[in-house]
């Protein structure tokens, strides 16, 4: 096998993937429109390279799960192509299935009467993992996610968080190359979700061919885990890049926050007239003044501070204001209230 050629094949690639769900029963309930169905994916083209943790962000109903179902061979696309490691998900089904795994948030898979160990062993069987290898892997995985003591506990007795960590082990017990995580930390407490994230990162670090496609509604999670993210809205990709790209793309001006001493109101006017300063706002905080600056470019901060010093002001602290991924996200897809209104309309 020539490795150099292999490595150029993306782990995941979709080309103009579309998916339309037909209205149930095929009868039109609310007039002509109901018969047309729901367009869940409307021409999605994405590329995920080997070794990446790729985040797919989008509001409820944006089409994230639909895309994952198509990539995991569980759903037929209505149009376009999708490839896993260069293999067509609609034609090379068996080969694709050998190298993928999926975990969905809140999933209730398996059988409650089995112990955690038995349950994981059962899923290892489905992937042809010899029992000896499987048990060694199960021990390692369980202790890595903090379930070492639960190995012989019945599955029905697990809490939601324990169950979800077990689900992650379930997906990893077959040693997949490409892992799909659909809201893996939904409903987990701070510690449990941190355990999941940490383990995903550790797992990725162990082998450069491993790849993760993750959906989440927690922006800090995407920010913390993902190398690249794409924002999907109404079945279309509206932004793509590194998390930093997304945040920067949002920011037209360089923003700074300064803590000032010995401030005079006249300084504000002076600053506003300077070259490169887009805006200057102040706010009184006890004996200090907080100054917020918007500059045309980052470099303008140095001469601006120099001019304040010259005028007799004193800078106590300086901080660049970074936009959060959440701000970038809201800017791209609109705010929650709007999404809820739309969701309610769609329900009708």
């Amino acid at each position: 096998m020539s490795h150099s050629a292999q490595d150029t094949v993306p782990a995941i690639q979709t080309i103009d993937v579309r998916r339309v769900y037909q209205a149930r029963g095929g009868r039109s309930i609310g007039g002509a429109q109901a018969g047309k169905g729901v367009t869940a994916l409307d021409g999605v083209s994405l590329t995920v390279q080997r070794g990446e943790i790729f985040g797919l962000l989008g509001r409820n109903g944006a089409g994230k799960t639909t895309l994952i179902k198509i990539l995991t061979t569980l759903l037929a696309p209505s149009g376009g192509q999708a490839y896993i490691d260069g293999m067509d998900v609609t034609r090379d089904v068996i080969k694709v299935r050998q190298i993928i795994a999926m975990v969905s948030g809140g999933e209730q898979s398996g059988y409650g009467i089995l112990t955690v160990r038995e349950q994981l062993w059962m899923f290892a069987q489905f992937y042809g993992v010899p029992s000896k290898v499987a048990h060694a892997r199960i021990d390692e995985l369980l202790s890595a996610v903090g379930l070492g003591d639960q190995a012989n506990q019945k599955v029905y007795a697990l809490s939601t968080g324990m169950r979800q960590r077990m689900n992650l082990c379930r997906a990893l017990v077959s040693d997949p190359e490409i892992l799909f995580l659909d809201e893996p930390t939904v409903g987990l407490d701070v510690e449990a979700s941190r355990a999941v994230r940490e383990y995903v990162r550790k797992w990725m670090g162990e082998n450069p061919r491993r790849t993760v496609l993750l959906t989440t509604h927690y922006m800090f999670e995407a920010d913390e885990l993902c190398d690249h993210v794409a924002v999907i809205n109404h079945g279309q990709i509206v932004a793509e890049g590194t998390t930093d790209d997304l945040k920067r793309g949002l920011q037209e001006h360089a923003r700074f926050q300064l803590e000032m001493a010995e401030w005079l109101p006249a300084f504000t006017e002076m600053l506003r007239e300077r070259d490169g300063v887009v805006d200057a706002q102040t706010e009184q905080r006890n004996d200090r003044t907080q100054l917020r600056l918007a500059l045309l470019r980052e470099e303008f901060i140095v001469p601006t501070i120099a001019s304040i010093n010259e005028a007799g002001g004193r800078v106590l602290a300086l901080r660049r204001i970074e936009p959060t991924l959440e701000e970038a996200f809201v800017r791209l897809v609109g705010d929650e209230a709007e999404s809820q209104r739309e969701g309610e309309e769609a329900q009708r």
């Binding site: 179902k69 759903l75 037929a76 299935r97 398996g110 089995l114 038995e118 489905f126 042809g128």
Partner: protein
């Protein structure tokens, strides 16, 4: 877009193909064993099965047996009822743990995981069937032995190989039918309960589990023969209580028909599973959402 290397391009050499086939078979068997496991474990982990699956059938058998006793029927008639009761255990298992099973597996999310696994879903169904058969065999044997001891029934076996053949064929055909129904139930998930209720009791009568089939007349008998339990039971009865009753057909012919039913139902299961999988992938019906 860059051209992607098609992975299926290289034709496999015969040696390679042989190896692939062996690997596929190994994976299939492992899948089957994996899926059978929870059934075998469940059978012994929940002790209340003793009540539901041995005591209740025994009570039912007693009721029929007492009626026969009151009518001064020969002791062997009670033997018939006991045999029927044992076989009914398999039918109930097929209905609730095969036919309805994929419907339940979809609700728990297992269905998606089973499909996503690299082996064919048929191996999963085979695992369900074998696990169910073995677990039920324990119960059926318990019913048979206890029932025979309580009522002092003796058997007069004509040919052990034929009895075993008739029993195995009807069992495999029965579970094949269950696998076929399992896929079809996925299509009609709302109606499942209604169908189950409607099928279970009439089948007990039709297949002659408690009443000899031949007593039902040729037309009803012919219809009932479609359910493998009928012929299997009738064949086994002929072979363990010879000349006791008018029979549906000669035992040899019944066994031959059962063999045909095995092929039909197992083939039907493979076909309908494939059909359902493709259809469900197009319609988006492999998972249920409760929101």
């Amino acid at each position: 877009m860059t051209a992607l290397t098609p992975s299926t391009a290289a034709p496999a050499r015969p040696a390679q193909r042989g190896r692939n086939m062996r690997a596929g078979l190994r994976l299939g068997i492992m899948t089957m064993v994996g899926r059978a496991y929870p059934r075998l474990v469940a059978a012994n982990r929940e002790p209340d099965w003793i009540f539901y699956e041995v005591a209740l059938p025994l009570l039912q058998i007693c009721a029929f047996a007492l009626v026969y006793k009151a009518l001064h029927a020969p002791q062997q008639y009670i033997g018939l009822v006991i045999l029927g009761g044992g076989m009914m255990a398999f039918w109930i298992n097929v209905l609730w743990s095969m036919a309805a099973q994929l419907h339940w597996e979809r609700q728990s999310g297992n269905l998606e995981l089973y499909l996503m696994a690299p082996a064919s879903m048929l191996w999963i169904l085979a695992g369900m069937a074998i696990g169910g058969m073995l677990a039920t065999a324990v119960r059926a044997t318990a019913v048979l032995i206890l029932g025979s001891l309580i009522f002092g029934v003796t058997y007069n076996v004509v040919s052990y190989p034929l009895v075993i053949l008739a029993f195995l064929f009807s069992l495999v055909a029965l579970y094949g039918l269950g696998s076929m129904l399992a896929s079809l139930y996925l299509l009609y998930n709302r109606e499942v309960w209604a169908i189950q209720e409607v099928i279970q009791e009439p089948v007990a009568l039709l297949t002659g589990s408690y009443v000899p089939v031949a007593a039902l007349g040729p037309y009803v008998g012919a219809f009932a023969a479609l359910i493998p339990l009928t012929l299997g039971l009738d064949a086994v009865r002929q072979l363990v209580f010879p000349h006791l009753l008018p029979t549906l057909l000669p035992a040899g012919l019944e066994i031959a028909i059962l063999a045909v039913l095995v092929v039909v139902f197992c083939g039907g299961a493979a076909w309908s599973l494939n059909f359902i999988e493709r259809r469900a992938k197009i319609q988006g019906k492999l998972s249920l959402k409760w929101q």
